[in-house]
């Protein structure tokens, strides 16, 4: 009887369908489960060290005294500098490619360049930063060298996102401004960029969260793994959150692994705040803009 059911071609097809649906649902669920396990594991290992002292103490050989102050300040410096360098450049490049030189062969060449740069492994940017900024321009292992390297890394992300946002602004808006006698630059500054702003900001935030978590390029340019001071200027050596996490995680002792987990909690909270801001911006934009 059972045999008969399986041999019936119609039933076999239905079973295949059910089996696939079940397998697909399970796999989708499993990938989400991984996220839960990962965050659960980090919280369980790192929670006990999380305290105000952890945020305000310098790293130390003694796990119970160690804190993340220098890395936290270093990351904030780095984020600020990367923002100042990469946002104007990225948005300007996007404006040029979308508004001034949309179709030319030159524009196409730049476009291919940007697409390929987006796929270059981050460690290659680290090698570039090491040879170009640290050695050639003699910036040494400074905040500035780190910020410049990281800016090059996230520029393609900002340019691509800004271009998409600018392209989504309807042509009528531009034509309306021109009809009233505005120059091209006035049209861009007063009409196109404000309309594209939510999309541009979302792209910037995602790029900044990428920069916050990137580790390899900073190791390459020689961000120090042990820093017991706070950087005070552009030319000071520094460390950053992911470097400090890497440093703790690569030690053999279990206590340092717990510190790494605590560091990860701090890093993830920052990333969550950034991403929350991006979601909020996207939501607000969808509420506000009606064309």
């Amino acid at each position: 009887m059972n045999n008969h059911r399986w041999n019936n071609p119609r039933n076999a097809r239905v079973w295949k369908e059910r089996l696939f649906r079940w397998a697909a649902r399970t796999l989708t669920g499993l990938s989400l489960l991984v996220l839960v396990v990962l965050i659960g594991h980090v919280l369980a290992s790192g929670w006990s060290h999380l305290s105000w002292d952890f945020l305000t103490h310098f790293p130390s050989r003694f796990p119970h005294k160690a804190g993340i102050k220098s890395a936290l300040v270093g990351s904030l410096w780095l984020m600020g500098l990367v923002f100042l360098i990469s946002v104007p450049l990225g948005v300007a490049a996007a404006v040029y490619l979308e508004e001034y030189n949309r179709k030319g062969p030159w524009s196409r060449f730049i476009e291919i360049n940007i697409a390929n740069l987006a796929g270059v492994p981050s460690i290659v940017y680290g090698i570039l930063g090491l040879a170009l900024f640290v050695r050639f321009f003699r910036l040494e292992r400074s905040l500035l060298a780190g910020a410049l390297t990281m800016s090059l890394l996230i520029l393609p992300v900002i340019i691509i996102a800004s271009r998409e946002a600018i392209r989504a602004v309807p042509k009528n808006i531009r034509l309306g401004a021109y009809a009233l006698g505005a120059t091209q630059w006035q049209t861009i500054v007063h009409h196109v960029l404000p309309a594209a702003a939510p999309g541009i900001f979302t792209g910037i935030i995602l790029a900044m969260s990428r920069a916050l978590g990137e580790t390899a390029p900073l190791i390459m340019i020689g961000a120090l793994t042990y820093v017991a001071f706070v950087p005070e200027g552009l030319m000071d050596p520094f460390t950053a959150l992911p470097i400090q996490i890497f440093n703790w995680a690569s030690r053999p002792q279990a206590e340092f692994h717990e510190l790494a987990a605590t560091g990860i909690i701090v890093l993830l909270v920052f990333l969550l705040l950034l991403n929350g801001a991006a979601v909020w911006l996207r939501y607000r934009a969808s509420q506000k803009i009606r064309w």
Binding site: I110, P121, H257, A260
Partner: protein
Amino acid sequence: MKERWIRWILALSALIAVVTTLSIIVVLGEETLTFFRQVSLWEFFTGTRWEPLLEPKSFGILPLLSGTLLIVVGSGLLSLPVGLITALYLSEYASERFRNVVKPLLEILAGIPTVVYGYFALTFVTPLLRQILPSMQVFNAFSAALVVGIMILPMVVSLCDDALRAVPRSLREGGYALGATTFEVSHGVVVPSALSGIMASFVLALSRAFGETMAVTLAAGATPNLTWNPLESIQTMTAYIVQVSLGDTPAGGIEYQTIFAVGTVLFVVTLFMNILAHQVMHKFREEYE
């Protein structure tokens, strides 16, 4: 006049992309050429021992290449099928509400820094797997490949999902009108129609795995090891570069130049994969009107 100045300033900003590409090529090329004046191409590409930091030095990149390939193949075996099936589930089966919950969660998975995945592999995945496979070493390719697979999974899902959703509805309805089940429509109509996009997403994801650094540095070890056994400690090209730059290697020495030689291989391979992916996407795209 002002308009013209602005145009030039903007054009210069756009030029940064070209300058960056050129600088990468010049920087890598220069030191790599110096390197190959001392080490023959033959030794570099066929040598089976990578010991540039020990005497006598040997510069065969094969162990680093095999380590990297173990990670790429392992992570691909996990993430490509799972990613495609998840994307199929999201685009063909799941309700709009389910999609709206799952996609942001996958984005979170994609946004977690790679150093966190390395930590996860080292302190969770490996200890867990070692209870089942006692012969597994503390640093091993298996756990690293597993977490790299998890890491590139969201990318596969999101790119495949885009490709699947670009298939016009009418094709699916043609399938359903012939009495096909959802599975039959998926693998008989939707996947073949979206094949170029799916292939491109696979290539892009594998290229990510190829250049992935922190997870493999933390979890896969630092022993250049020409092996196909994923339970052993290995070293990838990226992990080697990190290892050298963590030490005090003076500029100008041959040890310093090795990171540029290895970096060049890394850059050329990933560039080739990216160009391939874009070609696949543009050349073999089925056009529907």
